[in-house]
């Protein structure tokens, strides 16, 4: 080995040394960040997006702002709260006749089915295939009824995006992350907490 080669080896050693040092520093910072994050907030819980029906103002953006063409938000019927009214504010247009013709229906896709049970009660069932999450019925029900129709994010459709694109445009901050163990916020006795 001649002199030149030696000096070259030395040079490489120095470079290796620096490289090792920086690598150690970078490694420590990555692991440190991870550890800090873990200690600070990671709970081992997973979260999904959900709408709080008490905050929802039925603005209609859920139908248009989901990343999916078919919004993952659909109307869910909390039957527990339903008054089974003949005149349903969620089903009929204001001032309409109580007939099931399209001219009287509020739902633009006719996704609500009305079924007679017994005098004077009617059941309202949502056809989820047709529902587009426009919240018209929810608004109607909130204004004139018991608020038994809720908008909810359907987890079979939701892609659980890192940032829900509806949440970022929701005017009332009604969409938030909820624990995956309790993925729906439906009022009535389905949930443990009764509204106050």
């Amino acid at each position: 080995m001649d002199k030149k080669d030696k000096s070259r080896d030395k040079g490489y050693n120095r470079r290796d040394f620096i490289n090792n040092g920086v690598r150690l520093a970078l490694g420590v910072s990555v692991v440190g960040t991870a550890a800090f994050t873990l200690k600070r907030s990671a709970t081992g819980k997973d979260y999904v997006w959900q709408i709080d029906p008490l905050k929802c103002t039925q603005c209609g953006r859920c139908a248009t702002d989901c990343v999916r063409a078919e919004s993952a938000v659909k109307c869910v019927h909390a039957y527990d709260l339903c008054g089974y009214c003949d005149l349903c504010g969620g089903y009929f247009k204001p001032g309409a006749k109580l007939e099931t013709g399209a001219e009287n229906q509020l739902c633009p896709t006719a996704a609500i089915q009305r079924r007679f049970i017994e005098e004077p009660f009617f059941e309202y069932i949502i056809d989820e295939e047709l529902c587009i999450g426009c919240a018209k019925c929810v608004k109607g029900c909130a204004a004139f009824g018991n608020s038994s129709l809720h908008l909810q994010i359907r987890h079979d459709l939701c892609l659980n995006c890192n940032q829900c694109s509806i949440a970022s445009v929701c005017p009332s901050d009604a969409i938030s992350r909820v624990p995956v163990s309790d993925p729906y916020i439906i009022r009535g006795s389905f949930t443990s907490e009764e509204e106050g």
Binding site: A69, G101, A102, Q105, P108, T109, A110
Partner: protein
Amino acid sequence: MDQEQKIELAHRVALISGIFCGVVALLLILNFWHMKQHEPLESKTIEALVERLASEPGNEELKEEIRSFDLLARKAYFTSRWQVKTGTWLMLIGGIVLAVSLKIYTDLRARIEEPGKVTEELLRGRANAQYWLMMAGGLILGLALVAGFLTNDYLKEYQEMGVVAETGQDQGDVEVIELFPAQDAGTEASDEAVETEPVAEMNSETDIEAATDEASDGEPSGAQVKAATTQVRFNREDFKKNQATFRGYMGLGISYHKNIPEAWNGSTGENIKWKVASSKPGYSSPVIWGDKIFISGGDAQSRVVTCYNRHTGQLLWEKEVTGIAGSPASPPRVTDDTGLAAPTMAVDGNRVYAIFATGDVVAFDMNGNQVWGRNLGVPNNHYGHSSSLQVWDNKVLVQYDTNSKGRMLALNSATGETVWDVERPVHISWASPALIEVEGKIQVVTTADPYVSGHDLETGAELWKVEAMMGEVGASVAYGDGLVFATNEYARLVAVEPKPDAEYTWENDEYLAEASSPVAYNGLLYTATSYGVLVCYDTKTGEKKFEKEFNDGFYSSPMIADGKLYIMDMGGVTHILKADATGTIIAEPELGEEGFAVPAFADGVIYIRGEEHLYCIGK
């Protein structure tokens, strides 16, 4: 298959799949555009048809039409959704085929290139990189800087207003204590006087008292001018004699003067004793005390209070409102139809009090020396603050409902210190407080969205409230026959008994005033709308007595004087009617210029502030 054929095949496949992808993409875009354009679920046609159906409910044909349209719309929507789904799958498959065939095509055609072409000289490349990095970095930082400088920090502006309000309040208090010991002594002295001779309080004679010598001795050496040396003791009769506040005695729109002129003409000068041009614009009304008449005005440069001799029109003094701690450097944005000096002043014989849209409240003595001034916090008001002041005994009452919060304050008239300051659950309003006397106690009655409420004069405590108003309340209340009347456009006209758990005695929403306040007199309630209708109701029942439509709308409020109702429309024409259930028109004299203020009455004369001038009318 040889190489050439393979290339040819790959080329063809790529071409076909490329065209396929392009067509599908085009169709998808067309579909997207079409849906955006038509939005079948929000169809206007159906909406229009349904509306028509509401007017002809029996029309079966129309129903059928709606149903078929609805079906069509839903079909269009779901078909389009299916198209998008199918289209994307086709795109994906086409895209994969295209990519693979292109890859094969280019790979097959690729030739091994001759090595050794150094495309770039290293040093030169590095130098270029440095140059462009610096350029790009500089550009980005520069843009950020420009953006930073060009952005207006509204939040900070807004908060500074708030901070100003707080510090202004503190400093105001401190200033008063430090600079006006004379004032304190004066008030103490008068307090003593009250204690020693309580009967004097109710005495109808004007009681003028010289300030004590100690007060004069304790004069501060500062630049501030010394306080008034004479004190007028509070006395109701003085307030009946002088139209000292907005809409006269207690702010209820009734004057106790007689012999008021019925004919004049501003253009020809008929019956005009004098007229002066106001130095600054202002929608506030003139107020009177003794021989003096006061008006306020303001523009972006300054706000002024002006005092004239009311018999001659001679300018006695005019003072700019300056040196108030916490006053904003530039006035807040107001609209032209409100301006900076819309609230009417109040005067009590000792001092004249003025408030401006800047949030400045100021008191001058009768000789024009500023006694105190403070800023209540620049009001967050999108037209401009316009609630007028009321004064009673030793309190100046300020209704201060802004977009930030609803507030009602009473200030010590001698020092400007806060006597009470209550927060109210109401939205912004432009109405002025009025005073009523119920069971021997004075209440301050205010109206705002949504409550009409009465407050205790001494503590500000809410005595009663009723939810009646909505929107932007501009008209103040009227009071008569034990009922409070409040009205606002788009809300309702209500009669309410001022007591806890108050309810509407009657309500009406046929004619609603926007800015003009109602007035109750002799069992009749008069109210005027901004579209020129004057209506009269029975105060007890709400039964309509008459309605009269005029050519011009009313912003100015009606005043009752000498059994007649005076109301000026926006064109400056004053309509004088008999204040009875017939409303016979007596005369309709013209001012010759536009007018929005409430006229002020004195014995034998009427003062009207027009857009440009202040007129004294009388023989």
